[in-house]
Symmetry: C2
Subunit: 504 residues, 2 copies
Amino acid sequence: MPDTTSAYGRLESLFHKIHNLTHLAAMAHWDSATMMPPGGSEARGQALAEISSLINERVGSQETGELIEQADAVRSSLSDWQQANLCEMRREWFNASSVSPELVRAHALASSRCENAWRKLRGENNWADFEPLLSEVIALTREQAAMRSAASGLPPYDALLNLYEPGQSSDNINRVFAQLKAFLPAFVKQTVQEQKGDDLIRPAGSFPVEKQKALALELMKAIGFDFNHGRLDTSHHPFCGGVPEDVRITTRYAENDFSESLMGVLHESGHAKYEQGLPREWLSQPVGKARSMGIHESQSLFQEMQVCRSHAFLRFSGPLMKARLGNSETPDACWEADNLHRLYNRVQPGYIRVNADEASYPLHVILRYELEKALVEGSLEVRDIPEAWDEKMQNYLGLSTRDNYKDGCMQDIHWTHGMLGYFPTYTLGAMNAAQLFRAAHEAIADLDELISRGSFDVLNQWQSKAIWSWGSYWSIDELMRQASGEALNPKHFIHHLQQRFSPR
Amino acid sequence: MPDTTSAYGRLESLFHKIHNLTHLAAMAHWDSATMMPPGGSEARGQALAEISSLINERVGSQETGELIEQADAVRSSLSDWQQANLCEMRREWFNASSVSPELVRAHALASSRCENAWRKLRGENNWADFEPLLSEVIALTREQAAMRSAASGLPPYDALLNLYEPGQSSDNINRVFAQLKAFLPAFVKQTVQEQKGDDLIRPAGSFPVEKQKALALELMKAIGFDFNHGRLDTSHHPFCGGVPEDVRITTRYAENDFSESLMGVLHESGHAKYEQGLPREWLSQPVGKARSMGIHESQSLFQEMQVCRSHAFLRFSGPLMKARLGNSETPDACWEADNLHRLYNRVQPGYIRVNADEASYPLHVILRYELEKALVEGSLEVRDIPEAWDEKMQNYLGLSTRDNYKDGCMQDIHWTHGMLGYFPTYTLGAMNAAQLFRAAHEAIADLDELISRGSFDVLNQWQSKAIWSWGSYWSIDELMRQASGEALNPKHFIHHLQQRFSPR
């Protein structure tokens, strides 16, 4: 029971209410993507808008701000976790209060209009009709960035970035991405060359959805997904939703290719295990939430890229895959770890970010980061995006997207949705993941051996102690330092790529 | 866009917000019963309690009451529908404001404690441990009834009854139920005798869930369930939930008996079609809601009892049932309408209300009504329930429940849940249904013929015009008068039973 007489106690009780309302919003979101019949969408949209604005209003209210000041004045009387919680309360209050409700509404409206049109226009490769809608979103995003910048004193792009990655700066990202840019383009080219001669056996035939799902559930269970606090369903776009007490992950199945779904499930399970591992006693409070999107992505990529695409994991999973999915058209040798490892670590630059391999993926992100930063700063206009996109694609990946908007600048939902400042977190996540996996390797001498036997308890305990159980207690840098000995250092990711793609 | 400057306009906008919040609560309720993993229940319970209390607080606030007074002062400036809406707003405000929030909370807490214990204790036939928990619920229910009685001027039991059946009184129910009590016990006995010699062919073997579900979906579609605004799922207890824009019905399947699920789906579809047929332009407002629980049940029983257990419907559905469910162990003659009609209209008094046939069902309800009224009035104490139950079971149905609490007074969730005043609505519904079906028959000359051909458009249009499209515009009595020529008259139900169970 929180003490409801002190300012801090009243804040805990307010944020507990917010947690309860957020629960309902999260479940309704999940339902929209997995269960809802089409005719329900308008009423659902209104219900979700209602609860968002209610939450935003309460978190960002003047009263909340005043309580935070009062609690802060006597912060020395609070425990360490309470103090960290107060910090996160302030951050949430600040984010909610530094933009006017009218602008939030206008931005949400423009984004939703743009997103709805995008679903149709992308398929038609129709940039001309999309451009004015996106321009409106970008104009309102610039306004929002300016307001957040004025409130925080950060540069406008950084003010958006900080919504997803608190404490991160574009100066730091520039520095880190510069190292990747210096390394990756040549590395991708070289790896493609080296892999050309690889003997590759691809799975063939059909893989019934029910069998794919059974395998997914089996592997989820093996790696420690807690089915008492979560479930797996189907949606058009895979995601991890719900609440820490009840995490809902989704996938989509294709009968002729099980790998995308399988790797997607393992990726989302990484997100889910983070949520399920957050500190139980703080779940209703801001400090109990996941640290940042970059740390969240580090946990999904830790699971998918570091663990599940490793040779050790494929030695464990190969026989399970064969037992569930084996058929007369797929040679037995396909299911051997060497072959699966080649299959799941194939470098092939392409147009589409979400289909990209581990080595070229960051280049997709860097391209978007550079363009969105310029968009926010006003040095790039919406009408000039396609040309700028094409130029960078040629430089980074040797591919042209001229006149191909569909597979170029119209492929992602983020800008359409008004979410600028989010893209870098994917690659921050990939780098964090590599750094953390190296640290786990140092801490657990027989890690590969354990993974190859399908034994994940020790690793999960390590992740829990290093990341999950801390919620938002530490800053991102401090969390990484405690977990891996240093703040984010891209050399570990580069080293990981070199190891993984060195000719076996 | 509501006019937000007038008191009435502000009320519409308030109730629209309430509608949005209720949407999220309804979906979370549905999810709890159909999708949620067990570990999610505590957080879900808290989230649902939060939103209920938020809704209750807003609807029952002093501000809402004042706005209603202001709007009422200039009600002649409002349209007929707006005036009816204002009436319903007042009713919702009155119900929310006439009990103290502390009592609501204490009642909810005691009910939830009692309900949780009941799940275990019922199986153990353990009345001794259940009694004190139920006593607490009843004590708080009496307090609530007293508060509502003081606010409304109604007798305490009637004050509870009015939550579910606005305008209904125990005097009227006494009168109506007296006619049923005079007729039913002898009628049930006689029908059991007459049916003894019936030649009955029962379905045999196993009926795979997937096939049962396919049949259920096929029949739902045929009778006009709108899948663009609803869906069918599985839960432990069948129910109709969700919102009018997205109605969620559920069933449970048994492989060795398809009938319970099939008839259950048709019953819930009746509820669903009412919800889906409510006046679209008023859905967000109190006047757009279903009229009462007794009218709601009339629509489910209209569908199940009047339409779907009729000989005409079984002529239509028999071949479809055979096509989906036919197997080598079930003789072809089983699927013939005559046999199905005997099968689905078999009178056999039993202990359990939810399994009761159409003729003995009202006796289960009358028993509960008489006991719960005495409980609220204080002329019956919780410790004396088992004896009183046994006595009435012997009088009405010739069965003793001595020492059999499980199948006696511990079988239902309603009292456990603190819902006294609800039971009569089941039988009010059954009587309304018979009366409405007679009216439909008079309005549609070839109704049986249409039903036997699986053609339901004309009937659905009639129901829409008579009931669905009115929402809560009319009072219950007026609604029944407009739809059927008179307010509730039990003779139509008695006549229906006589017709249905007359030896063919």
